[in-house]
Amino acid sequence: MEDSPSYALKLKNINKHYGGVHALKAVDFDVQTGEIHCLVGENGSGKSTLIKIISGAESPDHASEIFIKGKQYRALSPIISVEAGIQVIYQDLSLFPNLSVFENIAISEYGEKRASLVNRRRMREKAQQAMNKINVKLNPDKLVRELSIADKQVVAITRAIATNAQVIIMDEPTASLSKHEIDELLKLIINLQKKGFTIVFVSHKLDEIMSISQRVTVLRDGDKIGTYQAQELDERKIEMLMTGREFDLNQSTDKKITQKTVIEVRQLSKRKNYKDISFRVNEGEILGITGLIGSGRTEVALSLFGMNKPDSGEILLEGKAVQFKTNYQAIQAGISYVPEDRLSEGLILPQPISTNIIVPILDRMVNKMRIFIKEDVKTVVDNWVKDIGIKTKNPENAVKTLSGGNQQKVVLAKWLATKPKLLILDNPTVGVDIAAKNSIYEIIRQLAKEKLAIILISDEVPEVYRNCDRILIMHRGRIKEEVKASEISEKVLNEKVIGGVVSV
């Protein structure tokens, strides 16, 4: 029964140890020919290990069995796997930015030993054939560097097609795409399926999984939890299966917004950035700002933080007009901004967690001689690690050793250590898995209860809907609408945000 040909791929009893870590525990996994199969799981659940085994980059422990189209393999190597028609598209796409589109698509020609000269005409034909096969059009002579991320994605898929892949495994393909680009990609994937390709799609964005896949396999901590028909599942159930816990996704109601205004913005404008922005945020309130990328959200936030000087308008902090020339002044005045790109703007990855946390408050950690007081540093760091729940054995470990969710907590701790009055969060949960996401939401709500004023900027409608009291929808630099989360449904809010595009 194990070699039934309707399976494009079948793995039985896969075990994998890394040193003392049991990364995969007797996992069975099968993919039927022509299906879109989603593989989901949190960071560290064993998804990547499983993919590496399928691609031949890692070999499984003894007694593991692998069948591709009915043929049994003890272990795979990258070459065997490619020859058997399996192609993995990694998250980084593995493209050559300095080469043209057609060279990238037909790059496997360079690996062939037959001739030492380049046959550009044949490569071009091969690339064109692969593009025609899946109905995509790209200028073959353009350098890949000049393409959008979405088009790069298309090049990577076309390259897989050009090597005669039948099974295409895509590792988190949507992580760096905008909503619109994701929709295009999903359409392309469904189109691939119609042409007879088999797709394994790794993701942790649940709405995507639900919209395209036939079956879903869930991994947790190296165990296979199960394989399910997609229609049996809803987002909530997948979350539960992935994390083993149930989360309260409802809006929190048990907090008190005081009448004291922390920040007020009046008629703020900046040419080519945003226009006539007015709002206020009270103590204990969470104000959501959403809208599509390029709607001016981040620009407004940076203006509040002294990093993007507005042309006109007023910013009042606790009733007093302020004009920050630098973000240092803004920090001193009690404003913190947690940037979207924590890797390049928020953290010093090779440095210890402790050092990262005290960066903005170095001035408060020194004695009269401007020498660090070690005990103070330790107390502050230990408190924050505990309060925020950063999972680490030792705060002296480098930040890069943490998972995405825990890294984001370090960024939060760092800014909270400045004891701000206003906390601005720009897409705080990008690239963070569900459990960590929820714990970040809990922290945010807790902070609001402790009377912090919070501005939460996010692409994700559910994120602002579940956490915010009021929500501003921005479109092309203006506030299009302001809604109270308690008065509308998530669906209506979603339509309002997307509606901005349709009306263009």
Partner: protein, 276 residues
């Protein structure tokens, strides 16, 4: 048009043109065929080495040791032809073999030690230089055999006044090597793989390209051209000195980068380089 103005060489050409015009109008010696040939000939050995450096930079690496490689090649080549005699072909062959050998040592170290090529080649620069000083005691060599000292001209033009304009072997080699390099980079698989390696090393590894082989090729090629360039240099100046070429590393790298190669790897063409 906009495509032309975006390219580095366009601005480079403007600067060179301005310089040429300035020199032409301020002296009447500059814009003569004789002077230009002289100028190109005296830089041809650096040009040959820059061709090797171009390949290294495209692959995403760097080599600071090639001047020491070149000087060692020069000393060995000179010693052999002075003591045992020989011919020009043998001279170049010795230079090339020593160059390739020392270049491959770089390639091996870079591949197996897995440290940045900058560090490795600074180290080998000092090792090669140290060995050179130890064995040569800093002695200059200028007693070349006659066959080596006579002018080696490939073509000789004569104008109506009877002035002669020789195209030296060094200059000729420089052009030939540029053409060969252009061919390798554009039309051979190994050339394209060097670009791929410089563009995305990890992806090149995943494609199953032989990274070790490519690294050896790149640094071996650099060594080859350092060796050939060094013999060419000896032909031009008729002297071999320990400090004649060492110290010119940065001139060569600057020329290649000005010619459009990126220090991050992956870009640069021979066309761009030849305009420098």
């Amino acid at each position: 048009m906009s495509k032309i103005t975006k390219r580095n060489e366009f601005y480079l050409a403007l600067v060179i043109l301005a310089l040429v015009l300035l020199l032409t109008f301020t002296t009447d010696q500059f814009m003569t065929l004789g002077n230009l040939l002289e100028l190109f000939t005296s830089y041809s050995f650096l040009g040959i080495m820059s061709a090797g450096m171009l390949v290294v930079l495209i692959s995403g690496g760097i080599d600071l040791s090639f001047t020491a490689t070149a000087t060692i090649s020069q000393y060995i080549m000179s010693t052999v032809i002075i003591e045992h005699g020989g011919n020009l072909f043998l001279a170049f062959l010795i230079g090339a073999v020593i160059g390739v050998a020392l270049g491959c040592v770089n390639g091996l170290l870079i591949h197996f030690i897995k440290k940045h090529p900058l560090i490795i080649t600074i180290a080998t620069l000092n090792i090669y230089k140290g060995l050179l000083m130890y064995f040569t005691k800093g002695k200059w060599i200028y007693n070349f055999p006659l066959w080596f000292s006579k002018p080696h001209d490939i073509f000789i033009f004569e104008n109506s006044q009877g002035d002669i304009f020789p195209i030296s072997l060094s200059l000729f080699l420089f052009f030939i090597l540029f053409i060969i390099l252009a061919f390798i980079l554009q039309y051979t698989k190994i050339g394209r793989k060097v670009y791929a390696l410089g563009g995305n090393r990890e992806a090149a590894r995943r494609m199953g390209f032989n990274i070790f082989g490519l690294t050896l090729f790149v640094y071996g090629f650099m060594g080859l051209l350092a060796g050939i360039g060094s013999v060419s240099h000896a032909l031009i100046v008729q002297t071999v000195a320990p400090n004649a070429i060492i110290g010119k590393e940065l001139d060569v790298i600057a020329a290649v980068v000005l010619g459009g190669a990126s220090l991050q790897g992956g870009s640069g063409t021979v066309l761009e380089l030849s305009s420098v």
